[in-house]
Symmetry: C2
Subunit: 249 residues, 2 copies
């Protein structure tokens, strides 16, 4: 008296299959062009099964967002393994975040979309908790680097700030900078000429100097550090970005 069970592996494989289909649709029709019906036609499962996996379109979007954050986790891991001082590692987090967002603009914007009321209002509880969990993991990576900075004496925590606040400051700054510069790549405006990489470096230096995290901006060639990151831990991302560029040309 027992039914057939589906094992977790195939269930996840199916989930991945649907998400990939969704990404293809988004790449072609944009986020607004994503519909469950289109996913159903691209996938060897019925509407019922798709709805059994994702409670609604918004839930699917949140899942895609979580998938993206998971990948970001790997980038942060590599950032933390950069061969350099603690401040360079912290900067590497920001640069990695930027590279990831440039490489997957859709996915980055989806993280914004996923924080939007129209999505959170409808997405499933389970997947939203998963999202929170993933963000906590990311912050954990930052906290590790902060501990290292404290241990080596590069960073002296201001009395009114906790490590979590230091982590959050860099995150908020990176997020804001990327979010605001991401859009208008080719639209003109006050921010038109600013290069994302430059601004991010400037802002990160402002914040890290503010935290008195040594070495200070004038005492170090930060552009060289960024260059080295791009050649080592983020070589993969840089190459992918460049091949994306030549593809367009």
């Amino acid at each position: 008296m027992s039914p057939r069970y589906i094992d977790d592996a195939t269930r996840e494989a199916r989930e991945e299959e649907m998400m990939q289909a969704a990404l293809n649709i988004i790449a072609r029709d944009g986020v607004s062009g994503l519909t469950i019906d289109k996913v159903v036609t691209l996938v060897p499962y019925s509407k019922g099964t798709v709805y059994n996996t994702f409670s609604c379109k918004e839930d699917l979007l949140t899942a895609l967002c979580n998938r993206s954050v998971t990948r970001l986790s790997d980038i942060f891991f590599r950032a933390a393994s950069f061969d350099g001082n603690s401040r360079e590692k912290m900067l590497a987090i920001g640069i990695g975040y930027m590279l990831h967002s440039q490489l997957n603009p859709t996915e980055f914007m989806m993280v914004i979309s996923a924080k939007t009321p129209s999505v959170t209002e409808k997405s499933s509880q389970k997947r939203q908790e998963e999202h929170k969990e993933l963000e906590t993991q990311l912050l954990g990576k930052l906290l590790g680097i902060i501990s290292e900075g404290l241990a080596t004496g590069d960073l002296n925590l201001a009395p009114h700030l906790s490590p979590a606040q230091v982590a959050f400051s860099l995150w908020a700054m990176s997020f804001g900078t990327i979010a605001l510069l991401q859009e208008n790549v080719e639209r003109c405006g006050v921010r038109q000429q600013m290069s994302l990489e430059n601004e991010l470096l400037n802002h990160a230096n402002l914040v890290l100097d503010g935290h008195q995290w040594k070495p200070y901006t004038p005492d170090h060639d930060w552009h060289a550090s960024v260059q080295r990151m791009k050649e080592t831990v983020f070589a993969k991302e840089v190459e992918a970005l460049e091949s994306q560029w030549t593809e367009l040309a």
Copy 2:
């Protein structure tokens, strides 16, 4: 041989009427619950007329966003008129931005929504240009304060930074901080205990110290400045926020 024309005043009044209806719907059903059909029933105009005013739901959202930014403009104006030194005025911009976002969380999130691909992909060209224009106006207010700081000698521009970059750094930081803290007001997580006002003040000080904008953080009681702002130029907003609070209790 001429038809009836509608003058701009009534046209705008009608637009406002529809937007107000939309805000009521959003307040009740959330952003995802907004539909053009609902707007039509709440308004003494037909579907055709509504679609004649807003090309689609996303266009309406962008319009609501622009309306919000216009109001923000007034707040920035008052921030710039704060009786204090240039750095206090700059801080006032950030605090005003925060108060505005707390007072109108829906509208703030709509600004995020409006930057989301699913909206920009469908919104009308005209309204998106209007949005860009409004943002430029806001940045202009910041640039005015920066000029003042340069004139009084409080601010010494780093050689590699332009005034626009200084303005942008504060904006990105404020936006990122508010956006990330806005959501989880009652959700638990790493950031749960952080108060938005405190974090914003911390981050603003980090950035402004980074720009070497005098007086430096240790040389001034910034909490007192914030208090004074809330009692003078932002008294209106603080009162509204407090009455909102007692309403809930």
